[in-house]
């Protein structure tokens, strides 16, 4: 790993400032993808801005009919959270199927979606449940957030702060997991609720997408 300047800001504002001030800054969330990438020298940022010291980015609450999850909340926390398990069990199950126990103890929802690995689980979860990504600048519907392979709508100095999920009437997530990594070979989230009937597929294309409708428009 090449060396870098390390920053551990105490607020999102300070993190954004550090990011703007760096020649090639990179945000560190749980690090379960970024650290292996740095170790292989596939990336060599000048500055690492570590969000681990920002308490406001952690935690889960229910607010106005939505489940609100802080960007630095780990997969293990989402998987084990009583509110998520009661209101969106499909999302708890999705989080429980990511990687392995140690990855789930460090990896975060914000890191996963900002990375937008085409085989990651959360992108399908967000699109399939009609979630909204909140950043330090704006709110972005999940449908407009995931642009392509490892590419999102996030601007250079933009930081994911929270993800809100409307509570569906019902939802389910199923995947064929890679036997070694547990990444999705293909994963599908389906839901029915305030956001309508939604389906999103991860792993089978460059980004999580609703499946193409059959020709002739055979129903929804």
């Amino acid at each position: 790993m090449y060396d870098f300047n390390h920053h551990r800001p105490a607020s999102v504002e300070d993190a954004a400032k550090a990011l703007t001030g760096a020649s090639d800054g990179k945000i560190l969330a749980g690090g379960q993808t970024l650290i292996p990438t740095l170790k292989q020298r596939l990336a060599s940022p000048s500055d690492i801005i570590d969000l681990g010291g920002i308490a406001a980015l952690k935690g889960i609450k229910e607010e106005g009919g939505n489940i609100v999850i802080g960007a630095m909340t780990t997969h293990a926390t989402v998987a084990g959270d009583a509110t998520v398990k009661a209101k969106i069990p499909a999302l708890a199950a999705l989080a429980d199927g990511i990687g392995d126990a140690q990855v789930r103890n460090r990896g975060t929802i914000g890191g996963s979606i900002a990375n937008n690995d085409p085989a990651a689980d959360y992108p399908a979860g967000l699109v399939g449940l009609g979630a909204t990504v909140h950043t330090n600048k704006r709110d972005i519907p999940a449908d407009d957030f995931f642009l392509g392979m490892f590419e999102t709508a996030l601007e250079e100095d933009e930081i994911v702060t929270v993800v809100t999920f409307p509570v569906p009437e019902k939802a389910a997530y199923a995947k064929f997991a890679n036997p070694a990594s547990r990444y999705a070979i293909v994963g599908v989230m389906v839901s029915s609720g305030p956001a309508g009937v939604r389906v999103a597929v991860t792993g089978a294309g460059p980004r999580a997408l609703p499946p193409r409708r059959p020709r002739g428009g055979a129903g929804r």
Binding site: L28, I35, I48, A101, Q102, V103, N105
Partner: protein, 155 residues
């Protein structure tokens, strides 16, 4: 050079590290706690598992600076007053190892499992060990050891 302070196995430690220093390097090279192993170095094998604030993590996939202020427990911190931890004792008794390279990570991972689920069935144990790879033996005696430890820790 960043300075880090943390509690490792109950002892307050500080050290100067580079931003890129991994937690496992800090433990092994700065503190000479070489019980934590580096196996694959690619976040898959789990030989480097330690506890950070009570949760099992892969210390090869965490920077030392990320553990600043944390409570860290390594395999060296499990035995108390010369008595093996029940999980270590159960691994010994059930021969839950062959070459022993993966064992520190296996034990640390298993201790975290029992913290969360004191009474796991065989399927739950095998699923939990997803992130710990043993290339000697298969997992039969490791699973047996964890079941034995679960029984003995219930007392």
């Amino acid at each position: 050079m960043p300075s880090v302070s943390m509690t490792v196995n109950g002892r307050a430690v500080t050290g100067d590290v580079e931003g890129r220093t991994l937690l496992v390097q800090f433990l092994r090279e700065n503190l000479s706690l070489t019980g934590t192993h580096v196996g694959c170095d690619t976040s898959q094998c789990g030989a480097c598992v330690v506890h950070v604030n009570g949760e099992s993590v892969k210390s090869c996939t965490m920077l030392a600076v990320q553990a600043d202020g944390a409570e860290v427990t390594t395999i060296e911190g499990l035995a108390k007053d010369g008595e093996l931890h029940p999980m270590q004792e159960a691994f010994r008794e059930n021969h839950g190892l062959q070459c022993g390279f993966c064992t520190p990570g296996m034990v640390m991972s298993a201790v975290d499992l029992l913290q969360k689920n004191p009474n796991p069935d065989e399927g739950e144990i095998r699923e939990w060990l997803e992130g710990n790879i043993c290339r000697c033996t298969g997992y039969h005696n490791i699973v047996k050891a964890i079941q034995t430890a679960a029984a003995s820790m219930k007392g």
